[in-house]
Subunit: 332 residues, 2 copies
């Protein structure tokens, strides 16, 4: 690894390596999110699509397709598809209820009302299905419609499991697959499918995306109790929103009666007082929950790496391996 490579983040190297294809993806996104009849649509999406996010999901699709030697035009359609699904999901996440607003939840839809978020999100979902249909691959359609169902199911599960102390690590994993990993794994898998690669390679691409997404989300949930200025996360947001993330689930599983009463008060009943967050962190440390969560994140990162290593060697493959390391670098 050159010095340049060492100091450049893997997703930035990926973006630079795939710049030309990504330009085509951005052009396709702009073209397909336009609506000659309803100008509100590009207005709402522009601030999401043009904001210049990391575009990690479409990059994963482009990388997987290129890694598999694909030379057709449809990796661009599929990359735009996963970005549309991601953007639609963000818009629908923006929909809030008054009760949620009152709890001080940050409302990303202040600019737009609930109705716009829902309908424009629906438009992007429909557009994404048009795009994937254009690839003419029924396998791709099956993978992406399954991913869409997993995403929606995971979101519903998260909503109903929230504030329920009985939430298990299995349920957490399902929520995480819905929130993050299902679209990551579909993004990488379809790259192998359109390149017509053998089943074991397609499976390895799925496993990589799945494990990458899970480790990414676990790290994110961990940093909510372990953050610092350098990670750019505020400690305690999830706690205040009473989210049952992996560190809490582990600590609650090991809780004695008095501790369960504490968790029940602050999470189930939402009766939070000064000093509760500090006490929660104390309990997390007492039961080694943060360290155990960190080990889980590293394990999923290692699974991603192993899956990717089973694919034929290439610079792009090594870059995706670096990416799986990078995701957990903040807690390594």
């Amino acid at each position: 690894m050159s010095l340049d490579e060492a100091i450049t983040k893997p997703h930035e190297r990926l973006a630079s390596l795939l710049e030309s294809d990504m330009g085509k993806v951005n052009a396709l996104i702009r073209d397909r999110m336009a609506s000659k009849h309803a100008p509100r649509i590009p207005e709402v999406t522009a601030h999401l699509v043009d904001a210049g996010g990391k575009r990690l999901r479409p990059l994963l699709t482009l990388a997987a397709a290129k890694l598999c030697g694909y030379d057709g035009p449809y990796h661009v359609h599929l990359a735009a598809t996963v970005e549309f699904i991601h953007t639609a999901t963000l818009l629908h996440d923006d929909v809030v209820d008054e009760s949620a607003k009152r709890r001080g939840r940050p409302t990303a839809n202040l600019l737009w009302d609930n109705k716009s978020s829902v309908l424009v999100g629906d438009y992007l979902f429909a557009r994404s299905f048009q795009l994937m249909t254009e690839t003419g691959s029924l396998v791709v359609l099956r993978i992406l419609s399954d991913a869409a169902a997993t995403i929606a199911e995971g979101e519903v599960l998260q909503m109903t499991a929230a504030q329920d102390l009985a939430t298990t690590e299995d349920i957490y994993l399902q929520v995480v697959r819905g929130k993050t990993a299902a679209l990551f794994s579909a993004a990488t898998q379809v790259g192998g499918v359109i390149a017509d690669r053998p089943e074991n390679e397609v499976q390895a691409l799925f496993d990589y995306g799945d494990a990458l997404g899970i480790s990414f989300q676990i790290v994110d949930d961990l940093l909510d109790y372990w953050g610092s200025e350098s990670t750019g996360k505020n400690i305690g947001d999830d706690f205040r929103e009473r989210k049952l993330t992996l560190p809490l689930i582990k600590a609650i599983a090991a809780a004695d009666e008095e501790e369960r009463a504490f968790w029940s008060r602050v999470i189930e009943k939402g009766d939070q007082r000064d000093g509760d967050l500090e006490h929660a962190v104390l309990l997390l440390n007492k039961h080694d929950a943060l360290e155990a969560t960190r080990r889980d994140a590293l394990e999923w990162s290692a699974k991603a790496k192993t899956a990717m290593q089973s694919l034929p060697a290439s610079d792009l493959r090594d870059l995706l391996i670096d990416l799986s390391d990078y995701v957990v670098a903040r807690v390594s």
Copy 2:
């Protein structure tokens, strides 16, 4: 036509004729809306899916497929698909903003919060795409993903065009296609596609569904100013919600300066006073707007009939022709 047929409504005769297939559709719907992980999903959908609506859209798909001599299994999948899309649309329509609630809009989502309506709707959309993918027909996928985009675009257009006096009949037609006709036409068209019928017959099935949906919606909008106890509609709901439906659009196009000021006050500004509805109806009659709207509804109904008459004769065909008459019977 026997006496029995004359006194039984066409959609009831359709339901009775297709009872066995419709049983399969209902079983498939129950099976696919289940979620082993998120019991909230069937809870939310049950009151929509089990409520025993007319199931008009899936009946249209079953009828079109049978009319075309289809003998495979996938008409059941497609009928469930269109019902899922319809139900998802209803759930997303339920999402409201506080401002809307304050205006006294009937909130169908009182039972469930906005978030549940959005996420469960998304789940049904995803399930519908899984179902249509199972048919293995890329043409079907193209038709239904196009319909989904038209529906979402029409809903956004309706939201942005609402309360805008510049709304034209063209825009109204697009909104109506989004709200109603796009799913009707897709429902009938895919029945011909899976039966592998020639292009002109598939087009006739599309035209029938399109025109049936448009006449259905125009009648609905007309009855809001022309209702009576026998039609089961309350007069003036659309007026109070400041919806620019066809009767208003026609009256506004013919308005003099004083009348425009009236429409601007009650629709654009929403400043409605006692007697305004009566004055609006007076203006609608003055410009013959209700009668002109009625003629439009009859014209679309006639188009539906003509399209259906181009198909090979059968009892089922005649029943669909009766249905196009029935839709406008309330204003004939």
